[in-house]
């Protein structure tokens, strides 16, 4: 049996750990709130963008010379997987579930004889994927660990994706991120970003009141301007969802860690008290038997 001193030390160390996890949980809760606000604030732009795009795209989709970003290259051979994860760990299954989804997809594509490349956003996902797909990782983009994601970050990532697309390096790009349902539920999600998937316009062009739009410059040029922006917006949306999911996952992971530490302290304290009593009893017996011997 462990000595009293050892037990005391262990209790102290578990208590210290519990304090840390508790603090991390509270920090995550505060950050989660901020991340949720940011995600909410970004929603109007994405919605309006989608409306405008679907209006334009449906009218131009089948036109000859439609932009490549909309019609695709006509091939499905080479895939780029953009995997967005966190910069830091200690957030439960957050990073691993995203990487697992990406890895499964990559294995499936490879089994079909297709070519797969990775663009990792966030160090944690890259660490996992590097083991299996090392040479296939084109680049790892790191986001600052403590900074909130801004649109500029998304724009920079989109610029890299678009440059690769223009250089003909891939045909289809898919973004992997975790969409935020609630604090206890984050769903890893794959979303195709290139070529753009444009939802069909809701029945009837009621938004325009049936009126005919004027375009400045031409419809095609506007669309060409909008499509790359749409890629950036989709990435931005993914990153924001990811940020909220990460904090949510960290919060629940730290919550259960705190609880586990509490249980452990309880068990150790019980053990400590028992040992202490046993020792007292032993000492008493020694005294009594010593007195009897006289």
């Amino acid at each position: 049996m462990a000595s009293l001193k050892e037990l005391r030390n262990r209790i102290a160390s578990v208590k210290a750990t519990q304090k840390i996890t508790k603090a991390m949980q509270m920090v995550a809760a505060a950050k989660l709130r901020r991340a949720q606000l940011a995600a909410e604030a970004a929603r109007p732009f994405a919605q309006r963008m989608e409306r405008v795009l679907s209006n334009l795209a449906t009218s131009l989709k089948d036109a000859p010379g439609a932009p490549l970003l909309l019609s695709g290259t006509g091939s499905q051979q080479r895939h780029l997987l953009v995997v967005a994860t966190a910069e830091r760990g200690l957030c439960g299954g957050f990073n691993s579930s995203i990487s697992r989804l990406a890895r499964d997809r990559a294995n499936k594509l490879l089994a079909e004889g297709k070519d797969v490349q990775f663009l990792c956003v966030g160090r944690k996902g890259a660490d996992v994927l590097r083991r299996q797909f090392g040479p296939r990782i084109r680049e790892v983009i790191e986001l600052g660990a403590n900074k909130q994601v801004g649109y500029a970050d998304a724009e920079a990532i989109a610029a890299k994706v678009l440059a690769l697309y223009q250089a003909g390096e891939f045909d289809v790009a898919t973004l992997f991120f975790s969409s935020f349902r609630s604090v206890i539920s984050q769903v890893p999600t794959a979303q195709q970003i290139v070529p753009a998937e444009i939802p069909a316009v809701e029945a009837g062009a009621e938004a325009t009141g049936g009126a005919i739009y004027e375009y400045e410059p031409s419809e095609e040029e506007i669309l060409e301007d909008l499509l790359p922006k749409n890629v950036a917006i989709q990435i931005f949306k993914g990153l924001l969802e990811n940020a909220a999911s990460e904090q949510g996952a960290r919060m629940s992971a730290m919550d259960s860690a705190t609880r586990n530490a509490g249980e452990m302290i309880k068990k150790l304290t019980l053990n400590y008290n028992r040992t202490r009593q046993a020792q007292i009893t032993k000492e008493l017996i020694e005294i009594i038997s010593g007195a009897e011997a006289l």
Partner: protein, 133 residues
């Protein structure tokens, strides 16, 4: 004067959503003013200043936008800006940063088309600096 609903959104947030009388928008082919009952119209924006008149003849609220997109429909005017900052909060150094970026783009442009676009962008920023810098 009739007023109409106006929205200014940047990717990061919704900046303005209210009824206004008159908005002047820096379209890529020239500035244009939007009043109530404007014909449906879509335009790409150049970097510049959006002027929002809540009341006719009043002081306009001025906001810098770094390009984007305007959509006028019977329901009102929506501006999707890449980046939007109220002019009085705009740091002069921000424009310098954008100018430096654009200059880099001009140097790095691989095709004539790209270079032309970057040069146009650069000239817009320079104009802006000349007026407000």
């Amino acid at each position: 004067m009739d007023s109409f609903p106006f929205e200014l959104v940047s990717p990061e947030k919704l900046l303005i959503s209210e009824d206004v009388q008159h908005v002047v928008v820096p379209g890529v082919e020239g500035e244009f003013g939007v009043l109530a009952h404007h014909a449906p119209f879509m335009s790409v924006l150049k970097p510049g200043v959006v002027k929002v008149y809540k009341t006719e003849g009043g002081e306009p609220q001025k906001l810098f936008v770094r390009g984007g997109f305007a959509d006028v429909n019977p329901k009102g005017l929506t501006i999707l800006a890449d980046e939007a900052t109220p002019l009085d909060q705009l740091d002069a150094s921000r424009i310098d940063v954008l100018i430096a970026d654009a200059q880099e783009d001009v140097v790095e442009a691989k095709t004539d088309d790209e270079r032309l676009k970057a040069e146009i962008r650069l000239s817009h920023f320079r104009q802006l600096k000349a007026v407000h810098g």
